[in-house]
Symmetry: D2
């Protein structure tokens, strides 16, 4: 196809050239004597992105899903109970992973479009006087609905109920794009993925692990090997991996963190927020609504947008790809067919965002949506120019 | 800068990834025994892009300007007279090149925004009964004003006046993007550049040479060496160059022609025309006017747009770059400050074009231009959707 | 470091430029409508590399170790018994993986340098009249000792003892480099890695699964999710992945298989054998011995070489890196300090192999090994020139 | 071809990955407001490589030959006389360029293998009391014969004869690889090429110009435009080019100079000398002789080696390519068929050099040269190990 349009899926992101170059390297021996001197500072800097000094951040060659599994198998035992809410495809996936490993999940079902139910969490935890609940699972950014949960408030609820459960956060589509503070928020397990805020190829799960989670691991009876934290930490300590290191992605991660540090994490977060706000202005101008129940919940990395009644979002996304060669996110799970998603995670500029807004406008018009061409673009332009 | 926006300059174009990969090669010995078997078919295919079977197309490591110089020094002698019109920066540049080489140029001054004056050419040629005029120089696409001259009509005028002068065409921002027929139109010298329709890095001048031009070269007394056609043809014949071959760009040229052939030249031309039309719809919606005097003259590779009275286009282009990291073309020469240019040569998609239109709209609004945000985008969207 | 020497580690290999380019791609939506049309033929071609028509080959984003784990957790239950031999670091690793998952491993300890003990396997299997042994694990190419086991002979032993156990092969440093015939040899589980014979970056485990293994999976009680075969097969069927697809490596795999097919698998195997033979000639000329007990066992992808008594191979490998910037494999496990390894898997030419031989000669001389400079090179040259 | 061997031609060199990445960039507007801030320091640093503070260094998109032409057309007039020696293909080429431009060349013919004849230069200059000779042309490193001329001694000869001629140096295969001091040696014109010591793709001629040469240019009557120094200097002053800038190569040049500065020019020179010495040791071990008449003349960037009587070096070079996919330099001009060349300019390591020596040894043996396999390698190894 004679094209190279940006993608508007919620990850993998558009990969900056600088990172493509960083990943495109000749083979380097991951057991070379100078590998540790390269690798140890990288681990330190990775910890600073997770904002942890006391914990560890581990790098697994796998997709983000592998990281979610790792967090479970390293800390829990069959029959253990965890608390989680189902409020979208990805929060639901984590629940299913747990069940595969014979973890009992107390699930709070929440309408899609809501965040994790902090009040209900608090009630459940407060009534769990035996502390049977070993962990609370939260998806910081529910990519299916474009909803962000305030992790600090979950921590506060846990504190108020004085509950010792681990706080486990699926930060795959959040970390390195939106505010995340592992130590300050008392997060025990935090999972990120190379293909989101780190803007790299898919292939690394990055797992933050607190000392408390490591301690819990000593009693954890679920079998594990590939994703074993203890093996990984021991190997990392001497500057190596328990298996062949994914060198290309590690080079990429080095450069990705360089970019994040040069821009400053706060500026990165603000940039994501700003791009997202422009998209939301467009949605409002179209007369459409976001999946998120209220503006405080809107995700900074993906906007999930309801199509009007009588329209099918699958058709919309497919036509965008076939007619204009531009990719948007499909609706998933409960909102399949009813929602399409504009991803804006990672390196996204005003000009790129506007091309995504403008193109989907054309597709909506092609399908006789009751919107006005240029209306969303104009609304986004107005916001971008004033905030630039 | 944390960005990778497309550029909207009239070349160098946005380079397709496929061509970046083709140019990114390890060293290959340009004197290797298998180089000729690679190179000869490439030259043949290059001729098919110029639509010549009888002529040659030569590849010089230089910018396009070097190709214009090559066409002069290989065919003319000091004191020779040529006919040319000045209707923009680049037609004027060729006149100046001639003068550097003591060529007498009969210049027809034309208002910028007009094409080459075919009628006046015909009158001058008809009155040149001694055939003192050795060559007629025409810039097919005047990049400064966004105006295309109909080369076939120049040939017809020359035929009607029965004049034997060489027909020399600056096709730098035209060839491989718009229709060009070297043999059919009787073009004797045709200059293209790697960084325009071929979508490569800057660095190659591609020069089409007819047998008539080669014959003229035998009497041409201007000194030459680097750009000598005879040396180049002799070396090419045995599959080599008279000097070190620019191998990276030659690999790129191979792949570029592959892409052009896969898409089909007619489809390539139509794609350029279609993208250009969308931009023109935007200009009209803004209430602005193109530099070209009438629609038949509008360039398919670049749109030169007058800013309203009282505004300075330099400020516009500079702010676009500084505030939004997007590059547009400045006004040049006589229209400096009064014109900005949106380049749409090479690999440009609807989504990319819309981002260029949307961004410059923001900049115009930032500078209080009397335009409506989204208006140009809407007009372009309407055209693109209906024609896609 | 001002260098770009080839590596002589037994994987990751030197990555051909063609594959680096193939992996260096802009983001493509792995859920795009045309992904299945790209992906399904790739899976078919991958099966042809494994030489299976009846089985499946699954692609997991993980290192090869992940693939070994996948083969266990998808087919066995806690307390199941498997038969394996320990004859090097990697055969031992698989045993340890099993134990992590509460699999009882009947281990036959073999001297390092020997292959898997087919006769003993046969005896054990023959005496297992209750068929308590659920699987036989074999490492085709033991990378630590440079020893290859004849998989066909293992199958024959199993057939002779009429034993229904699954035949599981760690082919990480073998498949796509040496002969492997999944269907013909009745292999039930076969694990390969992207960074060896496929010459790609580390990051994919490729797992061949027979119908018999899939059937066994229905009773397998080990918990699994990320590495679940059934999830993967279901997703693959509709052209997708159960999680984010590692698109860069998948592009690379497509091109890697193109290269293998263009060269022809038999030619690929012969090339590996030929390069290995040259290295062995050098070893003989040095008066050193290979770790493998007899020539029939010598690996075609890595040569493990004993250093003379009184020397430490760690020092050798470290000096090669520090003084000449060339990487060789360390001795691992039982032969740490006593063996160094020259990897020759993947794209390796005569010229490259000779530079590896020549450089390690210098290092040996630097450390006062009793060898003659140039002797190994001369022996390898003699072989390469005659066999080229 | 399934290979990626280094090349052993005397340029284009093996391109370091770091420079390939630097040249592989998305389009950047060469007229962008921030281009000058990037470009001016680059010009300054380029001057430091030429070791000039008082002169200018100009960057022309062309091969090195274009730079040689530029030095002539900018400083001389038709009928002017220059002094030059013919001692190889490239010194002869410059003479021919002069003649194309009606420059009278007083040629001193020297046996190939000798350097420029400083004594004879001095005699001729001393006897030119009318100062009819306007320039002295010297090829610092004659690539055809692998002979280096001491430029300082030429300057001294000119000083002794008190002659005001310009000193013009073809430094294409020398500058950035061997010592060069433009100001200290009073060099007026110095030509380098991107594909030699700068290790980039072919496509830039770098021309050092002294103030004296610029002053001479004011009287120079040869016509010029593309290569005009005055145009280039004027454009550079405001951070631009007189035509489209070759941005990819300019990025590459920036990174190339970074690499030279990081290593230190003196270390770069010493590295070239050291690699060359190893090659010479091999030549001696083979019982062959270099083209250069005595060791003081031997080039540090290329070794030209006589084949024994009765052998044809063309056959040798061709077989090396066809059988082993390794490129060496052919014999050129007077030594065609009698000499082959091992290029060692740019990024060349011990391991790479040894692979080049080892491979050509095999080819010589294939063709029944009276040499011993491994002998040259052993000699080079001995030298490299001791000097590393």
């Amino acid at each position: 196809m004679l094209q190279q349009n940006p993608v508007f899926i919620p990850g993998p992101t558009n990969i900056p050239d600088r990172l493509r170059r960083a990943m495109d390297q000749a083979s380097w021996d991951h057991r070379a004597p100078d590998f540790p001197a390269f690798f140890h500072p990288l681990l330190d800097d990775l910890k600073s992105v997770f904002k942890t000094q006391m914990g560890e951040v581990l790098i697994f060659p796998s997709s983000g899903t592998g990281g979610l599994e790792a967090s479970i198998v390293n800390t829990l035992s069959p029959g253990d109970k965890v608390l989680a809410a189902s409020y979208g495809m990805f929060s639901q996936r984590w629940i299913e992973i747990c069940r595969r490993f014979q973890i009992e999940v107390e699930v709070i079902d929440v309408e899609w479009g809501e965040a994790a139910p902090v009040d209900q969490f608090e009630r459940v935890l407060a009534s769990d006087s035996q502390h049977e609940i070993k962990a609370v699972l939260v998806t910081q950014n529910e990519t299916a609905t474009g909803v962000e949960t305030n992790i600090a408030s979950v921590r506060e609820a846990m504190n108020r109920s004085n509950h010792p459960a681990l706080l486990c956060v699926d930060g795959v589509s959040a970390i390195a794009s939106v505010d995340f503070r592992m130590d300050e928020w008392g997060v025990d397990l935090a999972v990120a993925g190379s293909q989101k805020g780190f803007m790299l190829n898919t292939g690394l799960a990055l797992v933050g692990v607190s000392q408390k989670a490591l301690a819990a691991g000593k009693q954890a009876k679920l079998p594990r090997c590939y994703f074993d934290f203890v093996d990984m930490i021991a190997a990392n300590k001497v500057g190596s991996f328990p298996f062949t290191a994914p060198v290309s992605l590690i080079y990429g991660l080095r450069e990705s963190i360089n970019m994040l540090q040069e821009e400053g994490l706060d500026n990165v977060f603000e940039r994501h927020q700003r791009i997202a706000q422009g998209v939301r202005q467009a949605v409002e101008a179209w007369g459409l609504t976001l999946c998120g129940k209220n503006p405080a919940l809107y995700s900074k990395t993906v906007s999930a947008i309801y199509v009007p009644d009588g329209f099918n979002s699958d058709t919309l996304v497919e036509l965008a790809y076939k007619k204009y060669s531009v990719s948007y996110g499909l609706g998933l799970g409960k909102v399949a067919g009813r929602v399409f998603r504009i991803g804006h995670v990672g390196m996204m500029t005003d000009a790129m965002a506007l091309s995504g807004i403008a193109t989907i406008e054309m597709v909506m018009k092609d399908l006789d949506y009751p919107i006005e061409l240029g209306s969303g673009v104009a609304a986004a332009q107005k916001f971008y120019r004033q905030s630039a």
